[in-house]
Amino acid sequence: MPFIMVKHINKTFKVPIKASGIIGTIKSFFNRKYKYIKAINDISFSIKKGEIVGYIGPNGAGKSTTIKILSGILVPDSGEVKIDRLIPYKDRKKYVQEIGVVFGQRSQLWWDIPAIDSFNLLKEIYKIPDNEYQKTKDELIELLNLKDILNIPVRQLSLGNRMKCEIAASLLHKPKILFLDEPTIGLDAVSKKIVREFIKKINKQNNVTVILTTHDMADIEALAKRIILIGKGQILYDGSLSKLKKQYDYLRKITVITKDKVHLQKPYIVEEKTFEEGIEFVIDIRKIEINEFIKLISSKMSIIDIDVDSGNIDELIVKLYEDFKI
């Protein structure tokens, strides 16, 4: 049986509709109307121990809802979830001992006191033995470079430093699974890099299974070999990132600065635009390799400068969303 098994889960939310304005408010006071939003529609997947999985999709696709079900704080309407032989929302108290969760937009640290005090409180909450706590804490301080920020009240920390503390806090009890819901949201490039490298490290060293949602495709490229794409509550793609790239990321824009005026018109050229300084080609790399193409054009014209746009994963995702109409 797989480590994490999700079978046909569904979740619908009942949302009150309120008309705007005074009259609307009074009306809905007496006659409240609801609409039902299907946040998750028959989702199934399984994940092996030690995997890093990127869970992606546009806003409102159901990512956070899935994470909340997997972490035991929401109950699905139907379907089955089994993680490490436990049912998260049934064995909640026992199950949450084994997982760590970071919600990028929330904080579990006490706002007014230094992070180290929150850590000590978590030690009591998770009943971590003294020596084990000391060891894990020292390791995390070392890995995330927390030494100088642990004694500052959390409200005075920068977002990046706070996020490092949040991640450390979620790992004090040595969880087997780490759920990260947009862990790099709002972080600068340096902090993002630190967070990514750290996630990689603990995945490798401690064999922690990581499930990560993000809108930052660089996170996915750096971390996840496997991605699950979800839209309107349904799984649209489940597989490796490289395969997805092959399938969707096949166009390259090549800009050539040249004084020669040439028209190529070949089947592998999707677009050809001539402008003052040169020519812009969009080619299909499934039909011709880039170096072949460059060889060809260098034989046809004298190249002053050349720029190959290496394909942007963000654009790939936009294309993907368009394809699936989500």
């Binding site: 939310f13 806003n59 956070s64 909340k68 972490s71 035991g72 704080i73 929401l74 109950v75 929302y89 909640r92 108290k93 026992k94 949450v96 001992q97 997982i99 969760v101 919600f103 937009q105 929330r106 904080s107 579990q108 006490w110 007014d112 006191i113 005090d117 409180l121 009591e124 909450i125 998770y126 009943k127």
Partner: protein, 267 residues
């Protein structure tokens, strides 16, 4: 157990940090005590007969109510818990390997005790050195002291389970205003914080004996000042225990239902 006590400890320590708030609160309590007593003195001097409490009893009652005010008013709301329900941070609360109800009970008790501890002693000390007739007298007997201390401890627990209960109810309503307003009107009057219970009409007193509110403040304090005989006190202690059990069970059951039906606000 220790893992719950840690909340109590943390709330207690952070609560003690707010010295200015404690000072401001203390002066509020002194002001209200002074004002109430002045009104009652005027009332008593106007020669009304058949008054249910002796003036010196009443003055002691007012000072003790005021010094324990932060602990005994029933419409208390824990901002942290309420905000957590509204903005969805309750998600993190549910990720703790603990019972949500017990967690909140300890947080609420810790917070309220920390707010109280900084006020009780100064208010009592100042009230003790005030000139007559405003002065507070702590004269009591050992049996009365023992039994009223037991009653006070139970009263704190009763307050805790009552307050936790309506915080749990907020998980269903997702807002605290309605429920706090109801509790505020009902509890403030029925617990004797506005007008002491002996001044109530007899029928209202009889009804009130079957409600939990007066067992939080009115009963232990009047027991201490000698306005309620000890023999009656024993019976009321049993009523306190029964209410604690009822409200505790109700809160816990509702909390379990709420967790199953929880919607976590925000993405």
């Amino acid at each position: 157990m220790r893992s719950y006590l840690s909340y109590f400890k943390l709330k207690f320590i952070t609560g003690l940090q707010y010295r200015a708030a404690a000072l401001a609160g203390m002066s509020t309590q002194l002001f209200f005590g002074f004002m109430y007593i002045s009104i009652y003195i005027a009332f008593y001097e106007s020669g009304s007969s058949n008054l249910p409490m002796k003036l010196d009893e009443l003055i002691n009652y007012i000072w003790i109510t005021q010094s324990f005010f932060m602990l005994i008013y029933a419409w208390y709301k824990d901002e942290e818990i309420i905000n957590m329900i509204k903005n969805g941070n309750i998600a993190y609360e549910l990720l703790k390997p603990q019972d949500l109800y017990l967690m909140w009970l300890h947080k609420i008790l810790g917070e309220r005790l920390s707010q109280t501890i900084l006020r009780v002693l100064p208010v009592i000390l100042i009230a003790l050195i005030l000139p007559k007739p405003y002065t507070l007298s702590l004269k009591t007997t050992l049996p009365a002291l023992t039994i009223s201390l037991i009653a006070l401890l139970l009263a704190i627990l009763l307050m805790g389970v009552l307050v936790t209960l309506y915080h749990v109810i907020c998980m269903f309503t997702l807002d605290e205003k309605g429920i706090i307003a109801i509790i505020m009107v009902a509890a403030d009057i029925l617990s004797g914080l506005v007008v002491p219970i002996p001044f109530f009409p007899k029928y209202l007193q009889n009804i009130n004996n079957f409600l939990p509110f007066r067992y939080i403040s009115d009963f232990p304090i009047r027991l201490y000042i000698g306005n309620i005989p000890l023999s009656e006190g024993i019976i009321s202690i049993i009523v306190q225990i029964v209410w604690i059990i009822i409200l505790f069970a109700l809160g816990k059951i509702l909390a379990n239902i709420a967790i199953k039906k929880a919607t976590i606000q925000g993405g």
